[in-house]
Amino acid sequence: MAALTTPMVDKPLVIAGREFRSRLMVGTGKYASPAQMTEAIEASGAEVVTVAVRRVDLARRDAGNILNHLDPTRYFLLANTAGCYNADDAIRYARLGRAAGFNEWVKLEVIGDEGTLLPDTAGLIEATRVLAAEGFQVLAYTNDDLITALRLESAGAAAVMPLASPIGSGLGLLNPYAIRTIKTRLRVPVIVDAGVGTASDACVTMEQGVDGILMNTGIAAAGDPVRMANAMRLAVEAGRNAYLARRMPRREIAVPSSPVDGMLE
């Protein structure tokens, strides 16, 4: 049926001048196998995929290299700075990621605490400033604090990535109000990153008006990651369209959907 294959018209997602059709970005961690990862990413429809920068395990040579499984001409690789606990480390990892030669983008993480993986916002703002000045396109993973988001924008972030809930928690969108407020106030794109656990989390997040979602564990740790990737793709598109379509008002009284006149006697 034509309707199923013709997506509704929407502006592309534009970050740092680059256009994307998909508003779902995915990570590449925690899959049972590279094959499962590849299939899930394909099912997700994502164009942007995140990767981590790590030492080569010399005992395994190239084995752990994600590029053995991901075609960098097909996917836009977004290196992250996961695991960095201060601005200096994050800057170092960002530079290493850039030196891989694919692009000048970085998903910037400066973690403040091991138990929650919440960002150290002071370090994050500082690293954003440094890296933006070096020509990086910084996508900054942050908490759901508006003020920090505004500071990141001022520091030169190309996109701001507030969390739905802590990384890997699957707790969903804990504070829709905060995310909605951030979206309303920023000019750069807002991509919600982390905490999305299932499709309805993705859907309700997009309904707040944000520009996209990045997720990893919600897909990789599902019972069937490939099917969940597909569900997430659909959910992001559903939530985006629902936002654009403007939902009906809530009413505390019922309103018939069938006519009240024309009843028989």
Binding site: G27, T28, G29, K30, Y31, M37, T50, V51, A52, V53, R54, R55, V56, L58, R61, D62, G64, N65, I66, L67, L77, A79, N80, A82, R92, R95, L96, G97, A99, A100, I167, G168, A194, L214, M215, N216, T217, A220
Partner: protein, 73 residues
Amino acid sequence: MPTSTLVTIRLNGETRDVPMGWTLSTLLADLGLDARLIVVERNREIVRDRNAFDEVTLLDGDVLELVHFVGGG
């Protein structure tokens, strides 16, 4: 092999002796690594130009980090 012909480097967190005169290219070849997939940080500076790997000779005390992209979120 007399010890005077070796240099001691730190490679991905481990101490290792390599023959004096080895370049980055020699090392990568010895490790079985594809230079195109690797980023090399030497003494905290990235060796940006992969074509220069032939010309960078390993010196005693060099600290090398060979990194690449792995799965992550």
